[in-house]
Subunit: 203 residues, 2 copies
Amino acid sequence: MASYHHGSLPAALLAAAETILQRDGIGALTLRAAAREAGVSHTAPAHHFGDLTGLLSALAASGFARLSDFARAEADAKKSNGGEKNQLLAHARGYVAFARAHPGLFQLMFRSERLDWSLPALERAARDAYTLLMPATEALQAKPDAETLADMLARWSYVHGLAMLLIDGRFSVSASMVPGADEEALIAELLGRMVWLDGETDN
Amino acid sequence: MASYHHGSLPAALLAAAETILQRDGIGALTLRAAAREAGVSHTAPAHHFGDLTGLLSALAASGFARLSDFARAEADAKKSNGGEKNQLLAHARGYVAFARAHPGLFQLMFRSERLDWSLPALERAARDAYTLLMPATEALQAKPDAETLADMLARWSYVHGLAMLLIDGRFSVSASMVPGADEEALIAELLGRMVWLDGETDN
DNA sequence: TGTACATCAGTGAACGCGCGTTCACTGATGTAC
DNA sequence: TGTACATCAGTGAACGCGCGTTCACTGATGTAC
């Protein structure tokens, strides 16, 4: 541990970056700050991530992977009634739960200008995550028809907007117009409406 | 014009800031850059906006006002069939059209950490803009019931997520899975689904 | 099992840059009388 | 209509700061023989 070589600096830097994200916000996340937080000289990160974009992209990729985990965990917990609609709904719940649990990270993941989308690891992790809102049928995932695609994009738009507005605090402003409204109940109610977005042929 | 006093520096600075936003992206928008773009010394903005947050907040407020204009213009253009659903749909179309026309500005408007929401002008402009997704009935706007509020938040989430994912380029990634898909037609199709989100009692 | 050497991982001083802010200033405008 | 003076709007030099990057370096690890 106290040796010259750290042993697992990449992982330590990602963890440090996430701490900063959560504690100080996305604006405070710099290469030097991450190195400082990890207790390492500020030139060390370059050996592993190249530049700041590289570090942020790796962090975002990890975020997308964990977003997928959140969604799958939510679906597994309700495995009992595993209809397709229920599964999609569970994934949506996981999506929103992830955004609320890691708002800074979630924002970073959708701040494209700071990420390098040509990195295969990032692209793959992101695609994996939002493909969860596709029907589980493998054939459709590989080669979806226009209707299936529209269904997915509709779900994604809805759930993504819900998550974004929520972690941005916009809901509480509006919800305050109705005194006594329970935010948790409201979110559950809104999430439930997702299935209504499906194309006519699915109903 | 060439006189010592500018005459309308606040407006010129806002215009300059917007130029930078569109041309160089949100990361390049600084107090000094805005002053430079407006052809004025870099200490001049402080007289009018205090600090960078003040300038950005004023710019965002102007953005929200114009977002409302976009939405109303879209509704006026289709005034012929002015059912409430159609009006809400027109407002949603305007919302998305604004985001596509001014992506940088739209992003700034939803980057809360850089804005000062305690400024009444900003808060009011933002509220005006998203209240457009409420039914026009004045009584409901003043004192909405939980159902009406949920309808509005559902619409807002959907339209907002759609706009965000769209200007972030995520749709083109997904849509490329279906060769020959027409993005414009897809967006129109998705926007049309917004009305399906309304609570049972409205249907 | 040793030894030589290449490679890898981290250090710390130094650099230039653009940033926001402060400061003393100056030119233009408005207002009291 | 003049004049004095306060206030407002903009200038430009200077500052300290944190940033990313470069550089020569050193300690640790792995590998060829």
